[in-house]
C-alpha cells in the first residue's frame, strides 16, 4: 500500500480526481440573493410539485443529480458510487431521491459538512482506483428543517438575532478520473470539536472552533499557508462564526485576507432578513456547485480551500442539555493549467 498520508489528518491525491460538472438548484429566496445568477435553476414552488416539503426536497435532489449527470455526459446508473446525505431524520431526503438511480449508494451524515465529506470520500475512492465516476450531492430545505428542528412554520416564531436561515437548495458535483475541470488535490478530514456551546440558535459560534481546527491542521500538515489559496471558504458559519475564525487565526499571528463563508455569500444580510446568514447542507453545496465552480470555469479562481462545517446536535440532545459537537472537513481544489 502506498502511503498517501501527509501529517496527522491530511491525504494528498497522487492522481487528482476532477470535478467534471456540477449542478445547483435553489429556492426562491436563494435565487433572489447576491449570487442569484450563479445557479442552474431557481424553483419558485417550495413543494417542487410534490405533496409535502419532504417529498419536494427529495425531488430537488433527484433533479439536481440528473442535471449534473447530464452536464457530465453520464447516466446516473453509470456512477460507481453516490455519496449523499441531508438534514432530514434518517437522511430520508437523500435516500428517497436516490432510489431511482440504480447506482451503489453510501449514505452519510455530516450535517452541513456533508458537501465536503461526500467530495472527500468520492475523491479518495477515485484516486484509489475504486471508482471512475462518483456523485457527491447534498442539500437542505428551509421548510423541512424548520419544522423538524424548530417550530411549525405556521406558528410564526420570532427568530433570534444569532439564528441562521436554512438554505433551500441542492448541489451536486460529479467527480471523475478523467476529463476537464478543477482537480481535488488534498483532503483534511476533521475531528469532532465541542467547546461546550449549547445555544442552538448560535451555530456559527459552535462550529467556528471546528473550522479553525481543521484549517490550522491543513496548513500544518501540508506546509501551505493561507496565501497559497485564492480563496478559503468555510461552510456556513455565517456573520457570527466567520469573525470568530478570523480572530482565532489572528491570535496565532495570522491575518486571513482571502477568507469568506458560504453563509455570508448566499444572502444579502441587509435586504433578505436572514439574521446571521445562510446555513444547512444546501448552503455550502450550492455556493460550491453553483457560484464557485463558475468562478473556476471563468478563470477568476484557481486555488480554493473548501471547508464545509457541520453541527452534529439533534433536538433530543438539545432538550437533554447537551452542548453542540461540530466538525469541518477541508478539500483543496485547484484549476490545472491546460
Amino acid at each position: 500500500m502506498t502511503n498517501k498520508r501527509c501529517g496527522r489528518q491530511t491525504v494528498t491525491l497522487s492522481s487528482p480526481p476532477v470535478m467534471t460538472a456540477s449542478a445547483a438548484i435553489v429556492g426562491q429566496k436563494e435565487g433572489s440573493g447576491p449570487i442569484k445568477d450563479r445557479f442552474d435553476q431557481t424553483e419558485p414552488d417550495a413543494y417542487f410539485a410534490q405533496k409535502t416539503w419532504e417529498k419536494g426536497e427529495s425531488s430537488m435532489f433527484e433533479r439536481c443529480l440528473n442535471l449534473a449527470c447530464k452536464k457530465s455526459n453520464i447516466q446516473p446508473n453509470q456512477l460507481d458510487y453516490i455519496f449523499s446525505g441531508d438534514l432530514q431524520n434518517q437522511c430520508a431526503g437523500a435516500a428517497y431521491a436516490m432510489r431511482s438511480t440504480n447506482a451503489p449508494y453510501f449514505g452519510l451524515y455530516g450535517a452541513c459538512s456533508t458537501m465536503a465529506e461526500s467530495l472527500a470520500l468520492a475523491a479518495m475512492m477515485i484516486d484509489g482506483g475504486y471508482a471512475h465516476s462518483c456523485a457527491a450531492i447534498t442539500g437542505s430545505h428551509f421548510c423541512t428543517a424548520e419544522r423538524q428542528y424548530r417550530f411549525p412554520l405556521g406558528y410564526g416564531g420570532v427568530r433570534t438575532p444569532t439564528a441562521q436561515w436554512t438554505v433551500t437548495g441542492s448541489g451536486c458535483v460529479i467527480v471523475s478520473d478523467r476529463g476537464p475541470g478543477p482537480a481535488i488535490t488534498s483532503i483534511t478530514a476533521g475531528k469532532i470539536i465541542d467547546l461546550g456551546i449549547k445555544d442552538i440558535s448560535n451555530m456559527g459560534a459552535a462550529m467556528a472552533p471546528a473550522a479553525y481546527d481543521t484549517l490550522k491542521t491543513h496548513f500544518e500538515d501540508t506546509g501551505r499557508s493561507p496565501e497559497d489559496y485564492d480563496l478559503i471558504v468555510t461552510g456556513d458559519l455565517g456573520h457570527l462564526g466567520h469573525p470568530i475564525v478570523s480572530e482565532l487565526f489572528q491570535q496565532d499571528g495570522v491575518t486571513l485576507t482571502n477568507y469568506d463563508d458560504c453563509g455570508r455569500i448566499i444572502f444579502d444580510r441587509e435586504k433578505q432578513d436572514v439574521h446571521a446568514g445562510g446555513s444547512g447542507c444546501g448552503c455550502s453545496a450550492v455556493v460550491l456547485a453553483g457560484h464557485l465552480m463558475r468562478q473556476m470555469q471563468e478563470g477568476k479562481l484557481h486555488k480554493l480551500l473548501f471547508a464545509a462545517t457541520g453541527a452534529l446536535m439533534s433536538p433530543t440532545t438539545s432538550m437533554q442539555k447537551e452542548s453542540i459537537p461540530a466538525i469541518c472537513h477541508a478539500v483543496s481544489i485547484e484549476v490545472r493549467q491546460a
Copy 2:
C-alpha cells in the same frame, strides 16, 4: 490509477486490510440469548450509568471503541479515521461518543447496514493507502429506538407478530494495514432497492430484496458461488426476511445451504419474546464483532460473506405514506493461512 473494480458493484482489495481486533458490548437481553458467551461485556443497566438512554447509548459506543482499541494496542487518537453512525436522529449517538477520540471522523447513515458500510469504507481507505488504522463502529439501543420510531416505552404498546426487536449493543472492528486477523478481500456496495412495501412492522420483508440484489450481484461480479463461503450472513432480516432471500435464490435455481441472518442468531425466538428476531445497527455489529470474529479466531469459520441490511425510511416518510427503501452492503472476510 489502478482499476480495482470487478464487475458493476464490486471492488477487490489488492492488499487486503486486516480486522486486527473487535469488541462487542450488549444489554441484558442480548447477553441472555443463545450467543451470550460471545460478547465482551453485558451491561445490565440500560442507562449505562448515564441520565438518559441516549447518553447511555453514546457511553456504550465510547466504551466499545476504547475496548477494541485496547485489544488492538492502539489509542483512539492514533486512528486515522473513525467511520460511524447510528439510528438516533442526526446520528447523535455516534457523534457524541466520538467527541472524546480526537481522531478524524466520517459520519455515516446506513441504518442497520452501517456495520458493513463502515467496514467497507475503512477497508478501501486502508487498501488505498489513505489510512493505516481505522475504526468501524456502530450500535443501537432498544429504548432510544422504540421511543424515536414507535411509542413511548411506558405506553406498553403491543407489538405485531412481524415486528423485530432492536438490539441494545455496540460492535467495533479495528481495521489495519498490518497485523494478525481475518482480511477484508472484496466489497460489494449496494443500491437502494424499494419494491413498495409500506409496513414498518415488517422490515425483514422490506429489506430482503436489497439483500438478494447485493448478494446476487456479488456472485456475478466475483464469479464466486455461495458454496465458496463457509457462511453467508445477512444483517437483520430476521425470521421473516431470511426465508424470502432463500426463496428468491431458489427461484434462480440456487439452494442456499450456508446462509443465516444476524437477527435470527442473536435471540432465542421461543424463549425471548422477540417475535421476528433482532434488528438495529447493533444487531449485525455485535454478531460480527462478538460471535463471528470469535468463530474465525477459533478456526471454525474461514470464509465469511457479511451482508448487513438497512431500511432507510423515517417516521415522517411513513406518515406521508411512503414505501420503505432498503440497502445492503456485502463485505467478504477471509482467514488467511499463517
